[in-house]
């Protein structure tokens, strides 16, 4: 049975069909269940139908949120979309997301220095190894005191949650650069910083980018936690509100929208990585 043969070579078409199978099965199962629930109860809200979700999504993309400050009536389509609930939520969340990811790069530099300069390693490593294991969410009250409950605390929540992982990862990546490369650097007349930046950092950077890509989900997770706990806008904030009256017809499309955005960012980073580092073979 070639299902369990390591040397199996599935043909293209069957392979393609198989890869979509679970999606199809999940979607069909969902619609079957939703159908049933709607037949029993026309006002059913826990499992919305496609039409309901599509309509809700269109509304979210066209109308401003309830309670949004009244602007002058939008004229063009662009203005309408820009003022819509979906757009304002997305922009709010995206801004926090991008700022947090940008702050991960100094964390990379710190990890690099920790691994390359033994005094810095001695100073920081133990601390970050410990700190990495602290569940940032449980520190919320302290975060509130230190950073308030506005934008800064949400971003700090993400940074505190994700940066230690990125730092430790970078330390490992740096340490995995072969000794020979560093010695080579010295023999060619390079100084400490030239070796750190022009030899080591440049080599590990594609792996660093991949490491950050892997942590995007964690960034989003902390961002969602922060928005659900105290916020005035954002995608997770909207989902939290919608929960209160079972607005699953908007929540489910929102969740898919977030997944799509994350996909796009991941793809963007992967493409950028390939462009910047054509020599990287993994």
């Amino acid at each position: 049975m070639s299902l369990f043969r390591i040397d199996a070579q599935p043909a293209r078409v069957p392979s393609w069909v198989l890869s979509w199978f679970l999606f199809a099965a999940g979607i069909i199962a969902y619609f079957y269940a939703a159908e049933q629930r709607h037949r029993e109860n026309p006002d059913e809200r826990v499992m919305p139908t496609v039409t309901q979700m599509v309509r809700a999504f269109q509304e979210a993309a066209a109308k401003p949120a309830e309670g949004a400050e009244a602007q002058e009536a939008p004229q063009t389509l662009i203005q309408r979309v820009r003022g819509s609930m979906l757009a304002t939520d997305t922009i709010a969340t995206a801004r926090r997301f991008l700022i947090s990811v940008a702050l991960l790069f100094p964390a990379v530099l710190l990890g690099l220095h920790m691994a390359m300069f033994p005094y810095m390693g001695a100073f920081f490593l133990r601390f970050f190894q410990f700190f990495d294991k602290i569940v940032a969410l449980s520190l919320l009250p302290i975060l509130f005191i230190a950073f308030g409950i506005d934008e800064l605390s949400k971003i700090m929540l993400i940074v505190i949650g994700v940066a230690p992982t990125v730092i430790l990862d970078t330390v490992n990546l740096t340490k995995s650069v072969p000794r020979e490369q560093i010695v080579k650097g010295f023999t060619l007349g390079a100084g400490d910083f030239a070796i750190a930046y022009r030899i080591v950092l440049k080599q590990i950077f594609p792996r660093v980018l991949n490491s950050i890509r892997l942590n995007l989900k964690a960034v989003m997770l902390f961002l969602f936690a922060g928005e659900m706990i105290a916020s005035t806008d954002g995608l997770a904030y909207r989902i939290a509100l919608l929960r209160r009256h079972m607005g699953m017809d908007t929540i489910l499309p929102y969740v898919l929208w977030v997944a799509l955005l994350l996909f796009a960012v991941d793809l963007g980073m992967s493409t950028l990585n390939k462009k910047l580092h054509p020599w990287f073979q993994e």
Binding site: N41, D43, F144, G148, I149, R244, H245, M246
Partner: protein
């Protein structure tokens, strides 16, 4: 014993355990008026009543929002919730719901607190820490309305904050001057410097009711009817114990359910108008004021989109009262106030 013999033994004994009584689950969350459910189970009172009617009843603790979700998804048969949630959660989702016990109303448990001497009139324009779309929002909007500040309601800036963190968020952020929440968070916040309560639920008595609701379809079945009787009987027995000679012992036991002290629980009870006797509960339910209250509540829910996007007007989620009158379209009744079981308790017929 050989595997074969063991299996036969199992097969013989198993049917005995399968010949069970119908089982019902009641969901509750930590709140002064609902903690008695924990005591009901722990003390064995619940089992006594359940056995009397030949049913099995489980109580299960949740966080508030998940308990509502479970009820709407029909994973539990009954749930403790406020009148507002009873309307905008199951009712608006098309789940016909009956309120069979009116346990209490919030008489100061919910409050609007400000710091720095900010008055109710000065709230619009400032950020308010609040769990949006809940009784807290209803409370502050009623407060504004009662003080002639209707038109200002739109200008209030809400900062949605989860109830678990709202107390520490307010206390540690002096820049935020207004918070709306309920006890025990209110008690914690009240200890901070320079804060005062500018409006609370004792100023709108009877508007925030705490109920036990059951899916109407469950009540229509004979077993469901028994379940309702059992739980009502158990409830009023506990109510009796809370006011009887051994009250303190009972209250201590109840407080343990939420890891609370007797003193703290009593403090919360002091701002809760409990309907300890079935008679008082029936009176509340059959009084005309209930209709006025529910009208205010449904208007609030509708104006905030809590009744669902498909709902064209507040009438589409109709409420039926004990005298059979209906608020809304008669063919779209989703929430019913059913005093039958409380009346049976009052008459000692349980």
């Amino acid at each position: 014993m050989s595997l074969g013999r063991f299996l036969i033994l199992l097969a013989v004994l198993a049917p005995g355990s399968f010949a069970q009584k119908p089982s019902f689950t009641v969901g509750w969350s930590v709140y002064v008026g609902w903690n008695p459910y924990y005591y009901m189970q722990k003390s064995g009172i619940l089992k006594k009543w359940a056995d009397k009617y030949g049913v099995a009843i489980k109580v299960q603790r949740f966080d508030y929002a998940p308990s509502l979700d479970a009820f709407v998804a029909k994973n539990i048969d009954a749930c403790a919730m406020t009148n507002m949630e009873a309307l905008d959660m199951p009712a608006a989702a098309g789940v016909d719901t009956s309120a069979i016990i009116v346990g209490d109303y919030s008489n100061g448990n919910d409050a609007v607190i400000t710091r720095g001497g900010v008055t109710l009139g000065q709230i619009p324009g400032r950020q308010v820490l609040i769990v949006e779309k809940t009784v807290s929002q209803y409370l502050i909007e009623r407060g504004m309305a009662m003080n002639g500040l209707d038109s200002q309601i739109k200008k209030i800036k809400y900062l949605n904050t989860s109830d678990a963190d709202i107390a520490s968020a307010f206390i540690t952020n002096p820049g935020k001057q207004v918070v709306v929440t309920w006890k025990p968070m209110v008690s914690q916040i009240a200890k901070a410097k320079d804060v005062r309560i500018v409006f609370n639920s004792s100023q709108i008595p009877g508007e925030i009711l705490d109920l036990l609701v059951v899916r109407t379809e469950v009540l229509k079945k004979p077993d469901g009817d028994k379940f309702a009787k059992a739980i009502t009987g158990a409830w009023y027995e506990v109510m009796g114990q809370m006011t009887g000679p051994a009250a303190d012992k009972t209250l201590t036991s109840i407080a343990e359910g939420s890891e609370d002290t007797l003193a703290s629980y009593k403090e919360q009870l002091s701002t809760t108008h409990m309907f300890y006797t079935p008679q008082s509960a029936v009176e509340q339910t059959t009084a005309p004021d209930l209709k006025k209250t529910m009208d205010l509540v449904r208007k609030f829910c509708f104006s905030h989109g809590l009744l669902g996007e498909k709902t064209a007007s507040a009438d589409d989620v109709a409420i039926q009262f004990p005298d059979a009158s209906v608020l809304g379209k008669p063919d779209r009744v989703r929430l019913r106030f059913n005093p039958a079981y409380m009346q049976m308790a009052a008459q000692g017929k349980l």
